[in-house]
Symmetry: C2
Subunit: 428 residues, 2 copies
């Protein structure tokens, strides 16, 4: 055991876990390191933020996932530095040596140099982000119920979502349902269906990464849920009680107390460390430009995969920051490590694009399967099926299915808790 090849994997997301699984029967000693003790199914995080699911439904303890994989150990720790020269990962409280390193620490959101916006426009990357966002949305309705001033009331009942990609569109759709259905009988002084939900997107259509036909289908679904879609619009300022939008030459300030941030991805800071310590090249978003085999130049022992990697060899542009590339890259790295142990090589990584899915509310979704583009009910059923399939842990599949069925029938979102320190003072 002592002289086994040591693989250290940073990050227990889709990429890191996929690499770990692929190495299950390999003669290696794996250390999977993460700051969280669970794997998070990020594609459903917006459902926690909008009260449909509980955090535990979309998170599975890493130790439990890997309980049966004897060559893997889990370390709950934060990697603060990579000492590439000595092949060591420096933790906040110790160090781990590696023979092969897989960096899969993903990305977070960024505010394009306006970090001061974060306070007013929370993003959605972690469980804590999701419960805080849920609290803000619910508190806005609570505040509205007690507000007498008409202008202030309107600001509480106006929700602006910045970014019209899948996360933004899904958030907007869920908010539309909350306002029109879930909360419809809950208040006495306000009518939640009078809420204004505005989705702001810089490109000329929502879901710009989808074919135009599906963007248009998504737009129609959003409008049906009462969402105003503003395309070609840039956010130029966010303050406690307003957001400023520039559309062409026109600048407009929208009074709102709730801005949700679904734009701007910034790669994990470990990219910058790899750049400094191992000479890796970063792109604009801080992603590490990788070789065709997902290593970094000059360091065949360091792989970078998932949202942190910029792999442009196939299409000339980086792969999208979703689960599929990360999963496939993790599996590729697992295979390559084993091939190398047998002194073999593999052809370069090749991404197989299975397609993209986004859901816009109950029974409504768009699916781009490359060979088939559909929207509405059939797309939604595919979405449900795929997401249940990929959720790790059988119990969670059952729980999620039950809650979705319940939501579908009753519109009732039961995980509507305001927890933690109130993210917003009710300063009326």
């Amino acid at each position: 055991m002592a002289d086994r090849h040591r693989v250290v994997i940073l990050g227990g997301g889709f990429g890191g876990l996929s690499a770990t699984h692929k190495l299950k029967h390999a003669p290696v000693e794996i250390t999977l390191l993460d700051r969280c003790n669970y794997h998070l199914f990020q594609p459903l995080l917006y459902q926690v933020a909008t009260g449909s699911l509980s955090p535990a439904n979309i998170a599975a303890p890493l130790r439990q996932i890997l309980a049966g994989q004897k060559n893997a150990r889990v370390l709950l720790a934060e990697a603060v530095h990579i000492d590439a020269a000595n092949r060591r990962v420096i933790l906040s409280d110790g160090a781990v040596s590696y023979d092969t390193l897989v960096v899969a620490t993903g990305a977070t959101h960024q505010y394009f140099g306006h970090d001061e916006w974060e306070e007013f426009a929370p993003g959605l990357k972690t469980v804590e982000d999701a419960t805080a966002m849920r609290g803000r949305i619910l508190l806005a309705f609570e505040a509205a119920e007690r507000e007498r001033d008409q202008a202030k009331l309107k600001a509480w009942m106006t929700f602006v979502i910045v970014g019209g990609g899948p996360t933004g569109a899904e958030l907007a759709g869920a908010l539309g349902e909350i306002a029109h259905d879930t909360l419809s009988h809950d208040f006495r002084d306000i009518d939640p269906s009078q809420s204004q939900i505005i989705l702001v997107e810089g490109a000329d259509r929502a879901l710009p990464s989808y074919p135009p036909k599906l963007s248009e289908a998504a737009r129609k679904m959003l409008v049906k849920l009462g969402v105003v879609v503003r395309t070609g619009a840039m956010v130029t300022n966010i303050q406690a009680e307003s957001v400023t939008i520039k559309q062409g030459d026109r600048t407009e300030s929208i009074p709102t107390r709730t801005v949700l941030w679904a734009a701007g991805v910034l790669a994990s800071p470990l990219g910058r460390i790899l750049s400094k310590e191992a000479g890796a090249t970063l792109d604009n978003a801080g992603r590490v430009v990788v070789n065709p085999d997902l290593t970094i130049p000059g360091h065949p022992e360091i792989f970078v995969i998932g949202d942190l990697a910029n792999f442009s060899h196939q299409t000339g542009k980086p792969l999208p920051g979703v689960a599929q590339p990360a999963i496939q890259q993790g599996a590729y790295v697992g295979k390559l490590i084993q091939a190398r142990l047998r002194n073999k090589q593999l052809p370069p990584f090749h991404y197989f694009d299975k397609g993209n899915l986004a859901t816009i509310g109950r029974g409504a979704a768009v699916a781009d399967l490359n060979w088939l583009q559909i929207s509405g009910w059939p797309a939604w059923l595919i979405w449900v099926f795929i997401h249940l399939l990929y959720i790790i842990e059988f119990q969670n599949r059952l729980l999620i299915l039950l809650q979705w069925a319940w939501l579908y029938i009753t519109f009732d979102r039961s995980a509507r808790l305001i927890t933690g320190k109130n993210p917003l003072p009710l300063d009326l």
Copy 2:
């Protein structure tokens, strides 16, 4: 509507909600005020703290519960003062006037004058308490996995629960299961079943409010789960790395990093305000001594119910701080308010003791139904049935049942997330 009798109910727990429900068809205008936006089913809070259930499973949004009760409105606010002379409740941001006031703000835990213990020995009254306790328990095992020093390792794997009432016994039982079953394959360097779990109780037996026969049955169940039950033992000090226990003349310091507090109840601070503003009498635990009709002397318009009330007219001592008295008192107050509106009176409140139940792990519980005292499997089935019956919201019943069935079969606790700011630094 404007001249309807105004009932203000402080607290959306068992008592407040029961009173609200009883008034459903009464010609009154109810304002239910709570700091949380949900009703919490506290008897199952320990299952959140030990990773079996998610917070949303045992919490139902107050607005949703009361969506159909048109004469009730919910106010998310904190009552900071009661102006009894002018019949007004002062909020942190406003005021509400009442004709009848029902105070049902319950109790929290206390440290018998040692507030400095709270940092090291968290209690269990809120959702936030439960998720923080869950995090501490899981982090202790994580820290143990990385600890090389044998003495320190032992301290991480020693869990001390202070208080051998139902909450303490249930926590200890669940911890025993976690250590012996749930985590058994999760770690590589430690064996969780080597954990020491110590339940400390001041009385001469665990569950002192139960008949001795059931205490003995509970003790046996705890021992089977690897719990050491120390009775006649007082905690005299709690520090970051140890707890000091006095048993008879013997004082002992037990090295431990995880102390859970399940002792010492302190009534809500509104009791003290009622004492100052309305001349109410308080008992040692800060509870308000109430009249036979649950009002306070000199103020027939102010009712105090549930954990905050000391009602000793029936048995000579206060009713236990559990759900049943609160529910029955809430219903009584609801009926009395309606009787008064018709210029009628009611006989004094009478508590009907349906019995007590506590569960000690999988398939093991004790039930004191007064006419019948049982333990083991049959008691556990009664426990499951009763708890599912009293959980508000049908969806939660299904979800809880499914998760219990899963837990029963697999020992797997899926809600094992460490969330929020790590309650404990991993300072190894």
